[in-house]
Amino acid sequence: MSDNGTFEPVIVGFLCNWCSYRAADLAGTSRMGYPATLRDIRIMCTGRLDPTFVLRALQKGADAVLIMGCHPGQCHYQEGNYKAIRRFVLLRRTLRQMGIDDARVQLHWASAAEGVRFAQTVARVTEEIKALGPLDWPHNWPNEDPYALQEANS
């Protein structure tokens, strides 16, 4: 999967139930083409997005995380997406310090009617991640413990 030509990124999508998840549905039922790189997870609101979810996705090997919700001012719980903005911007700064490129965790908006916008966002993020290459986080630490290796072999 790491050959540049054939690398298909795995992007975990956290989609708000009331808008972007429906936008994804609309893109599907309208037969819009977009890359099959997104593994979408429905959340009730972007305000539900615990940064732990994003870290977990990256730690388990995702190449990127795409968070999508209702446009500012249109959250069904009034304030949820403003919460998401605050967490997201702080998370982005934190991830930069971990050596993770901004492109790998993105926040975008798409209403239930914006199937095209949803499909275009997935396509654009996919291209950006293809250019960056795999993240492959679990390989950041090999087993350096000679005693564990010895015990495993005995």
Binding site: I85, L90, I100, N140, N143, E144, D145, Y147, A148
Partner: protein, 336 residues
């Protein structure tokens, strides 16, 4: 020998503060000496590793292990003491979460050695000498413990029965743990010994709605003595940190740094602190949020000060996405 339970204490990659915390029990240390037969405590008495190797497996009742695991010697003792001990306690934040030595996971071995032995302004090393695992001298081969790229917690190396957080644990926490061990009133294995409330719960400062426009460094303002520090723009991790210390730091005007680690059920301490801090920012747009965050340098350092190796990401990515490959010769190195 007596029927007293056998106790071992060890320091791996540690600052020594946890050892001082044990001695900080003052006269109660005598109760510990009274209650236990201390069979290994290299910080204060003369023992050799061979003494431990000669013991029967499971012959030590309790091992209090402080310090993180960052080299082959730390790992050797972790595996050895695990084998010899019935109950293994990760003592202090280094053993539990990585703590101060774990901050090295923001960089890696090569970058650290480069800075320490070549580039730092105070380095005087004209011959560019760097410690090596093996050095040939006329008398034979000198060996140093292999130095790891990634600092680990004790539980990432051997199974751990109990965790006693704190950098270092307060005397009251140590007493609580010792009493629990002596009376057999221990929580289920794998537990943290301590209350599951946050520092905020124990903090006497008055709490109101928190909405801040900027952060201040401690030297920039003199905080009001009675109001929550976070409301006044001082970073405080008390919102997402387990208590047990009695909220010591905020009581004296310093924001909690998070040394008691995550509370029950929290997977990633930094993510929880991040969520709490994000919730107090008085901002709606990404630009406004960024403007406030310009006054909070080093957020990752604040969030993961004590639990970086224990976090989901564990460490910073290597430069240019380059992968760390354990040198085969070292990984296969001959453990003594």
């Amino acid at each position: 020998m007596s029927e007293k339970p056998k106790l071992a204490l060890y320091w791996a990659s540690s600052c020594g503060g946890c050892e001082i915390a044990v001695l900080g029990l003052h006269e109660k240390i005598l109760n510990v000496a009274e209650a236990f037969d201390i069979v290994f405590w290299p910080c204060v008495m003369d023992f050799k590793y061979a003494d431990v190797e000669a013991m029967d497996d499971d012959s030590i009742d309790v091992c209090l292990f402080n310090g993180a695991i960052r080299n082959d010697e730390n790992a050797r003792l972790a595996h050895l003491l695990r084998r010899k001990s019935k109950v293994m306690v990760a003592f202090g934040s280094c053993a539990s979460g990585g703590s101060m030595p774990g901050l090295a996971n923001f960089t890696d071995r090569d970058a650290m050695f480069d800075w320490i032995y070549h580039k730092s302004p105070t380095t005087d090393n004209p011959d560019g000498i760097v410690p090596m695992k093996h050095t040939d001298v006329p008398e034979g081969d000198l060996e140093l413990p292999g130095f790891w790229h990634t600092v680990k917690t004790l539980a990432q190396v051997v199974p751990v029965d109990y965790f006693l957080p704190g950098c270092p644990p307060e005397a009251s926490s140590i007493e609580m743990a010792v009493n629990a061990i002596l009376t057999g009133q221990l929580p289920p294995p794998g537990s943290v010994i301590g209350p599951d409330v946050t520092v905020c719960d124990e903090c006497p400062r008055e709490k109101h709605e928190k909405k801040i426009k900027r952060f201040y460094r401690p030297y920039e303002i003199i905080p009001d003595p009675d109001t929550c520090l976070l409301e006044q723009g001082l970073f405080c991790a008390g919102i997402a940190t387990r208590s047990g210390c009695g909220a010591r730091c905020p009581q004296v005007g310093m924001g909690c740094r998070g040394c008691y680690g995550p509370n029950e059920g929290v997977v990633d301490h930094g993510a929880k602190i991040l969520t709490g801090i994000a919730s107090v920012l008085d901002a709606q747009t990404p630009e406004e949020v960024d403007a406030i965050l310009d006054t909070l340098p080093d957020p990752a350092g604040y969030f993961y000060r004590f639990h970086l190796p224990d976090s989901l990401l564990r460490r910073r990515a290597r430069a240019n996405g380059e992968k760390i490959v354990a040198p085969a010769s070292e990984a296969a190195g001959e453990p003594a």
